[in-house]
Symmetry: C2
Subunit: 248 residues, 2 copies
DNA sequence: GTCCGCTAGAATCTCGAGATTGGTGGAGAC
DNA sequence: GTCTCCACCAATCTCGAGATTCTAGCGGAC
């Protein structure tokens, strides 16, 4: 499934409209997991969820299978599905890996970027700026910010010629989104727009080193806030077997 | 699905036995795609395949969904599944990305590795050596070599503390396996065992730089052979829509 | 000769019911 | 009081049939 879905989300832009019920259920489930409506570590019972999402059991199972690939859901034969647990160690790991990949992609993008890339970046930054100027955090506006933030980060590395790099970065970005809500609910003062501006200007000036540093500071800032929150707050208790499975 | 499967293949070792029909079908399909029994770009019709693999249509669809995540299969809503096409540009991309990740993981592994890591590496190298000494290339022995080669490469980075890095490397490794058969069928002379030995000794001596160079040469050698073979030989014609989807 | 629209066929997508497996609670023995 | 065993219950896993969608081939019009 998720033909367009999967590969679009991965290798190019995520824009096509879902055509099948499986795609619908996949997108809805993914959104709910990222937003924390399904808490990390909780069970995902097919019998209950099929009613919530208005599809048959088989259809929902297929959607869950697709989420397993994204590592947002884990499953064990004959025992069912769970939302992937989260932890300090996990976000630390994700962040390090993200930095490795995104730094590389950003450098390639700066190296290869033509006028189209610059135009796309300017547009994405403008869209992001517009929404960041208004600081009220309605749920609707939050969702909008998420979209534009993703658009900005995609625009940054759009000129990277490695589709695989962009694909893997997409997976990690979605993982990071799960943690972001904790950072946003924190009361640590932080001028995200200033970080974005620095990143934008450095990229436009083709200053690889400055852009790299800005990206690292930007990504690090989020994870530092998350690691400042207690581990218990991150997720509800996890079943023993699942925890054991992921402990190694 | 593929709870153990997916995550085991990803984050730790791939050893658990499949428990459900979906897992069986997934593993069998994956093997057949990697070995080229299903040529790149060809269609995977559920109606036909369900008989070949002895499962129901729904079960096979679930297995295919899992393969979509591995990027070994692509799908498009209401139109079905295809084996992912392969190309010179793709293997080049995979190789560059692999090098970025594996180099990082190897350095981390050398940095962190304790006696257990060394022991595991010695054992894996020994197993690989035993099979490389006998150069007859039976299908059975080939399969054995594939397994031990994977074991050796996993042992190299086993002490890398980033699960995500190891997970992504696993995805890329399976992709590379699809191309290897072209390199093996080539008549270019190449002493793979010498490459492995160099890699092994450099790692054991904790010589990061030497190990990195050896790894790069090792991985590069394969892709160079593949890019020497004509593009047409790599795959059968691809459907227009699929090609268009992957062209961007 | 080229293009458009229609029709028939095939394949996908979806759903509900039955078979199989794993977890739980209580009774009984030591 | 603790451990083991067993039976019941819930949930997963699997399959086949029906509805929907896409593709291909053919005939006709320009």
């Amino acid at each position: 499934m998720l033909p367009s879905q999967k590969f679009t989300a991965a290798f190019s832009a995520e824009s096509e409209t879902p055509r099948t019920l499986v795609e619908n259920a996949y997108l809805a489930l993914r959104q709910d997991i990222i937003e924390g409506k399904h808490a990390p570590g909780t069970r995902l019972r097919v019998e209950h969820l099929k009613d919530d999402y208005g599809v048959g059991a088989g259809t929902l199972r297929e959607a869950l299978s697709l989420l397993v690939s994204d590592a947002l859901v884990v499953s064990e034969g004959q025992r069912g599905f769970w939302v992937s647990p989260i932890s300090h160690a996990d976000i630390e790991d994700i962040t390090r890996t993200r930095l490795l990949l995104e730094t590389e992609a950003l450098c390639a993008s700066i190296r290869n970027g033509n006028d189209d890339w610059e135009a796309g970046l300017v547009a994405a930054f403008h869209r992001l700026t517009k929404v960041e100027e208004k600081l009220n955090s309605t749920a609707q506006r939050m969702r909008e910010w998420e979209d534009r933030n993703r658009g900005f980060h995609e625009a940054l590395i759009a000129a990277c010629d490695s589709r695989w790099l962009r694909y893997l970065i997409g997976i990690l970005y979605r993982q990071s989104e799960r943690y972001r809500r904790f950072a946003l609910s924190s009361n640590v003062r932080r001028d995200i727009h200033a970080e974005h501006t620095e990143l934008f200007e450095a990229a436009m000036q083709r200053d690889t080193k400055r852009a790299t540093v800005a990206l690292e500071k930007h990504i690090r800032a989020t994870v530092d806030i998350i690691c400042a929150t207690p581990e218990e707050a991150l997720q509800k208790p996890v079943r023993r077997s699942t925890r054991a499975m992921l402990a190694g």
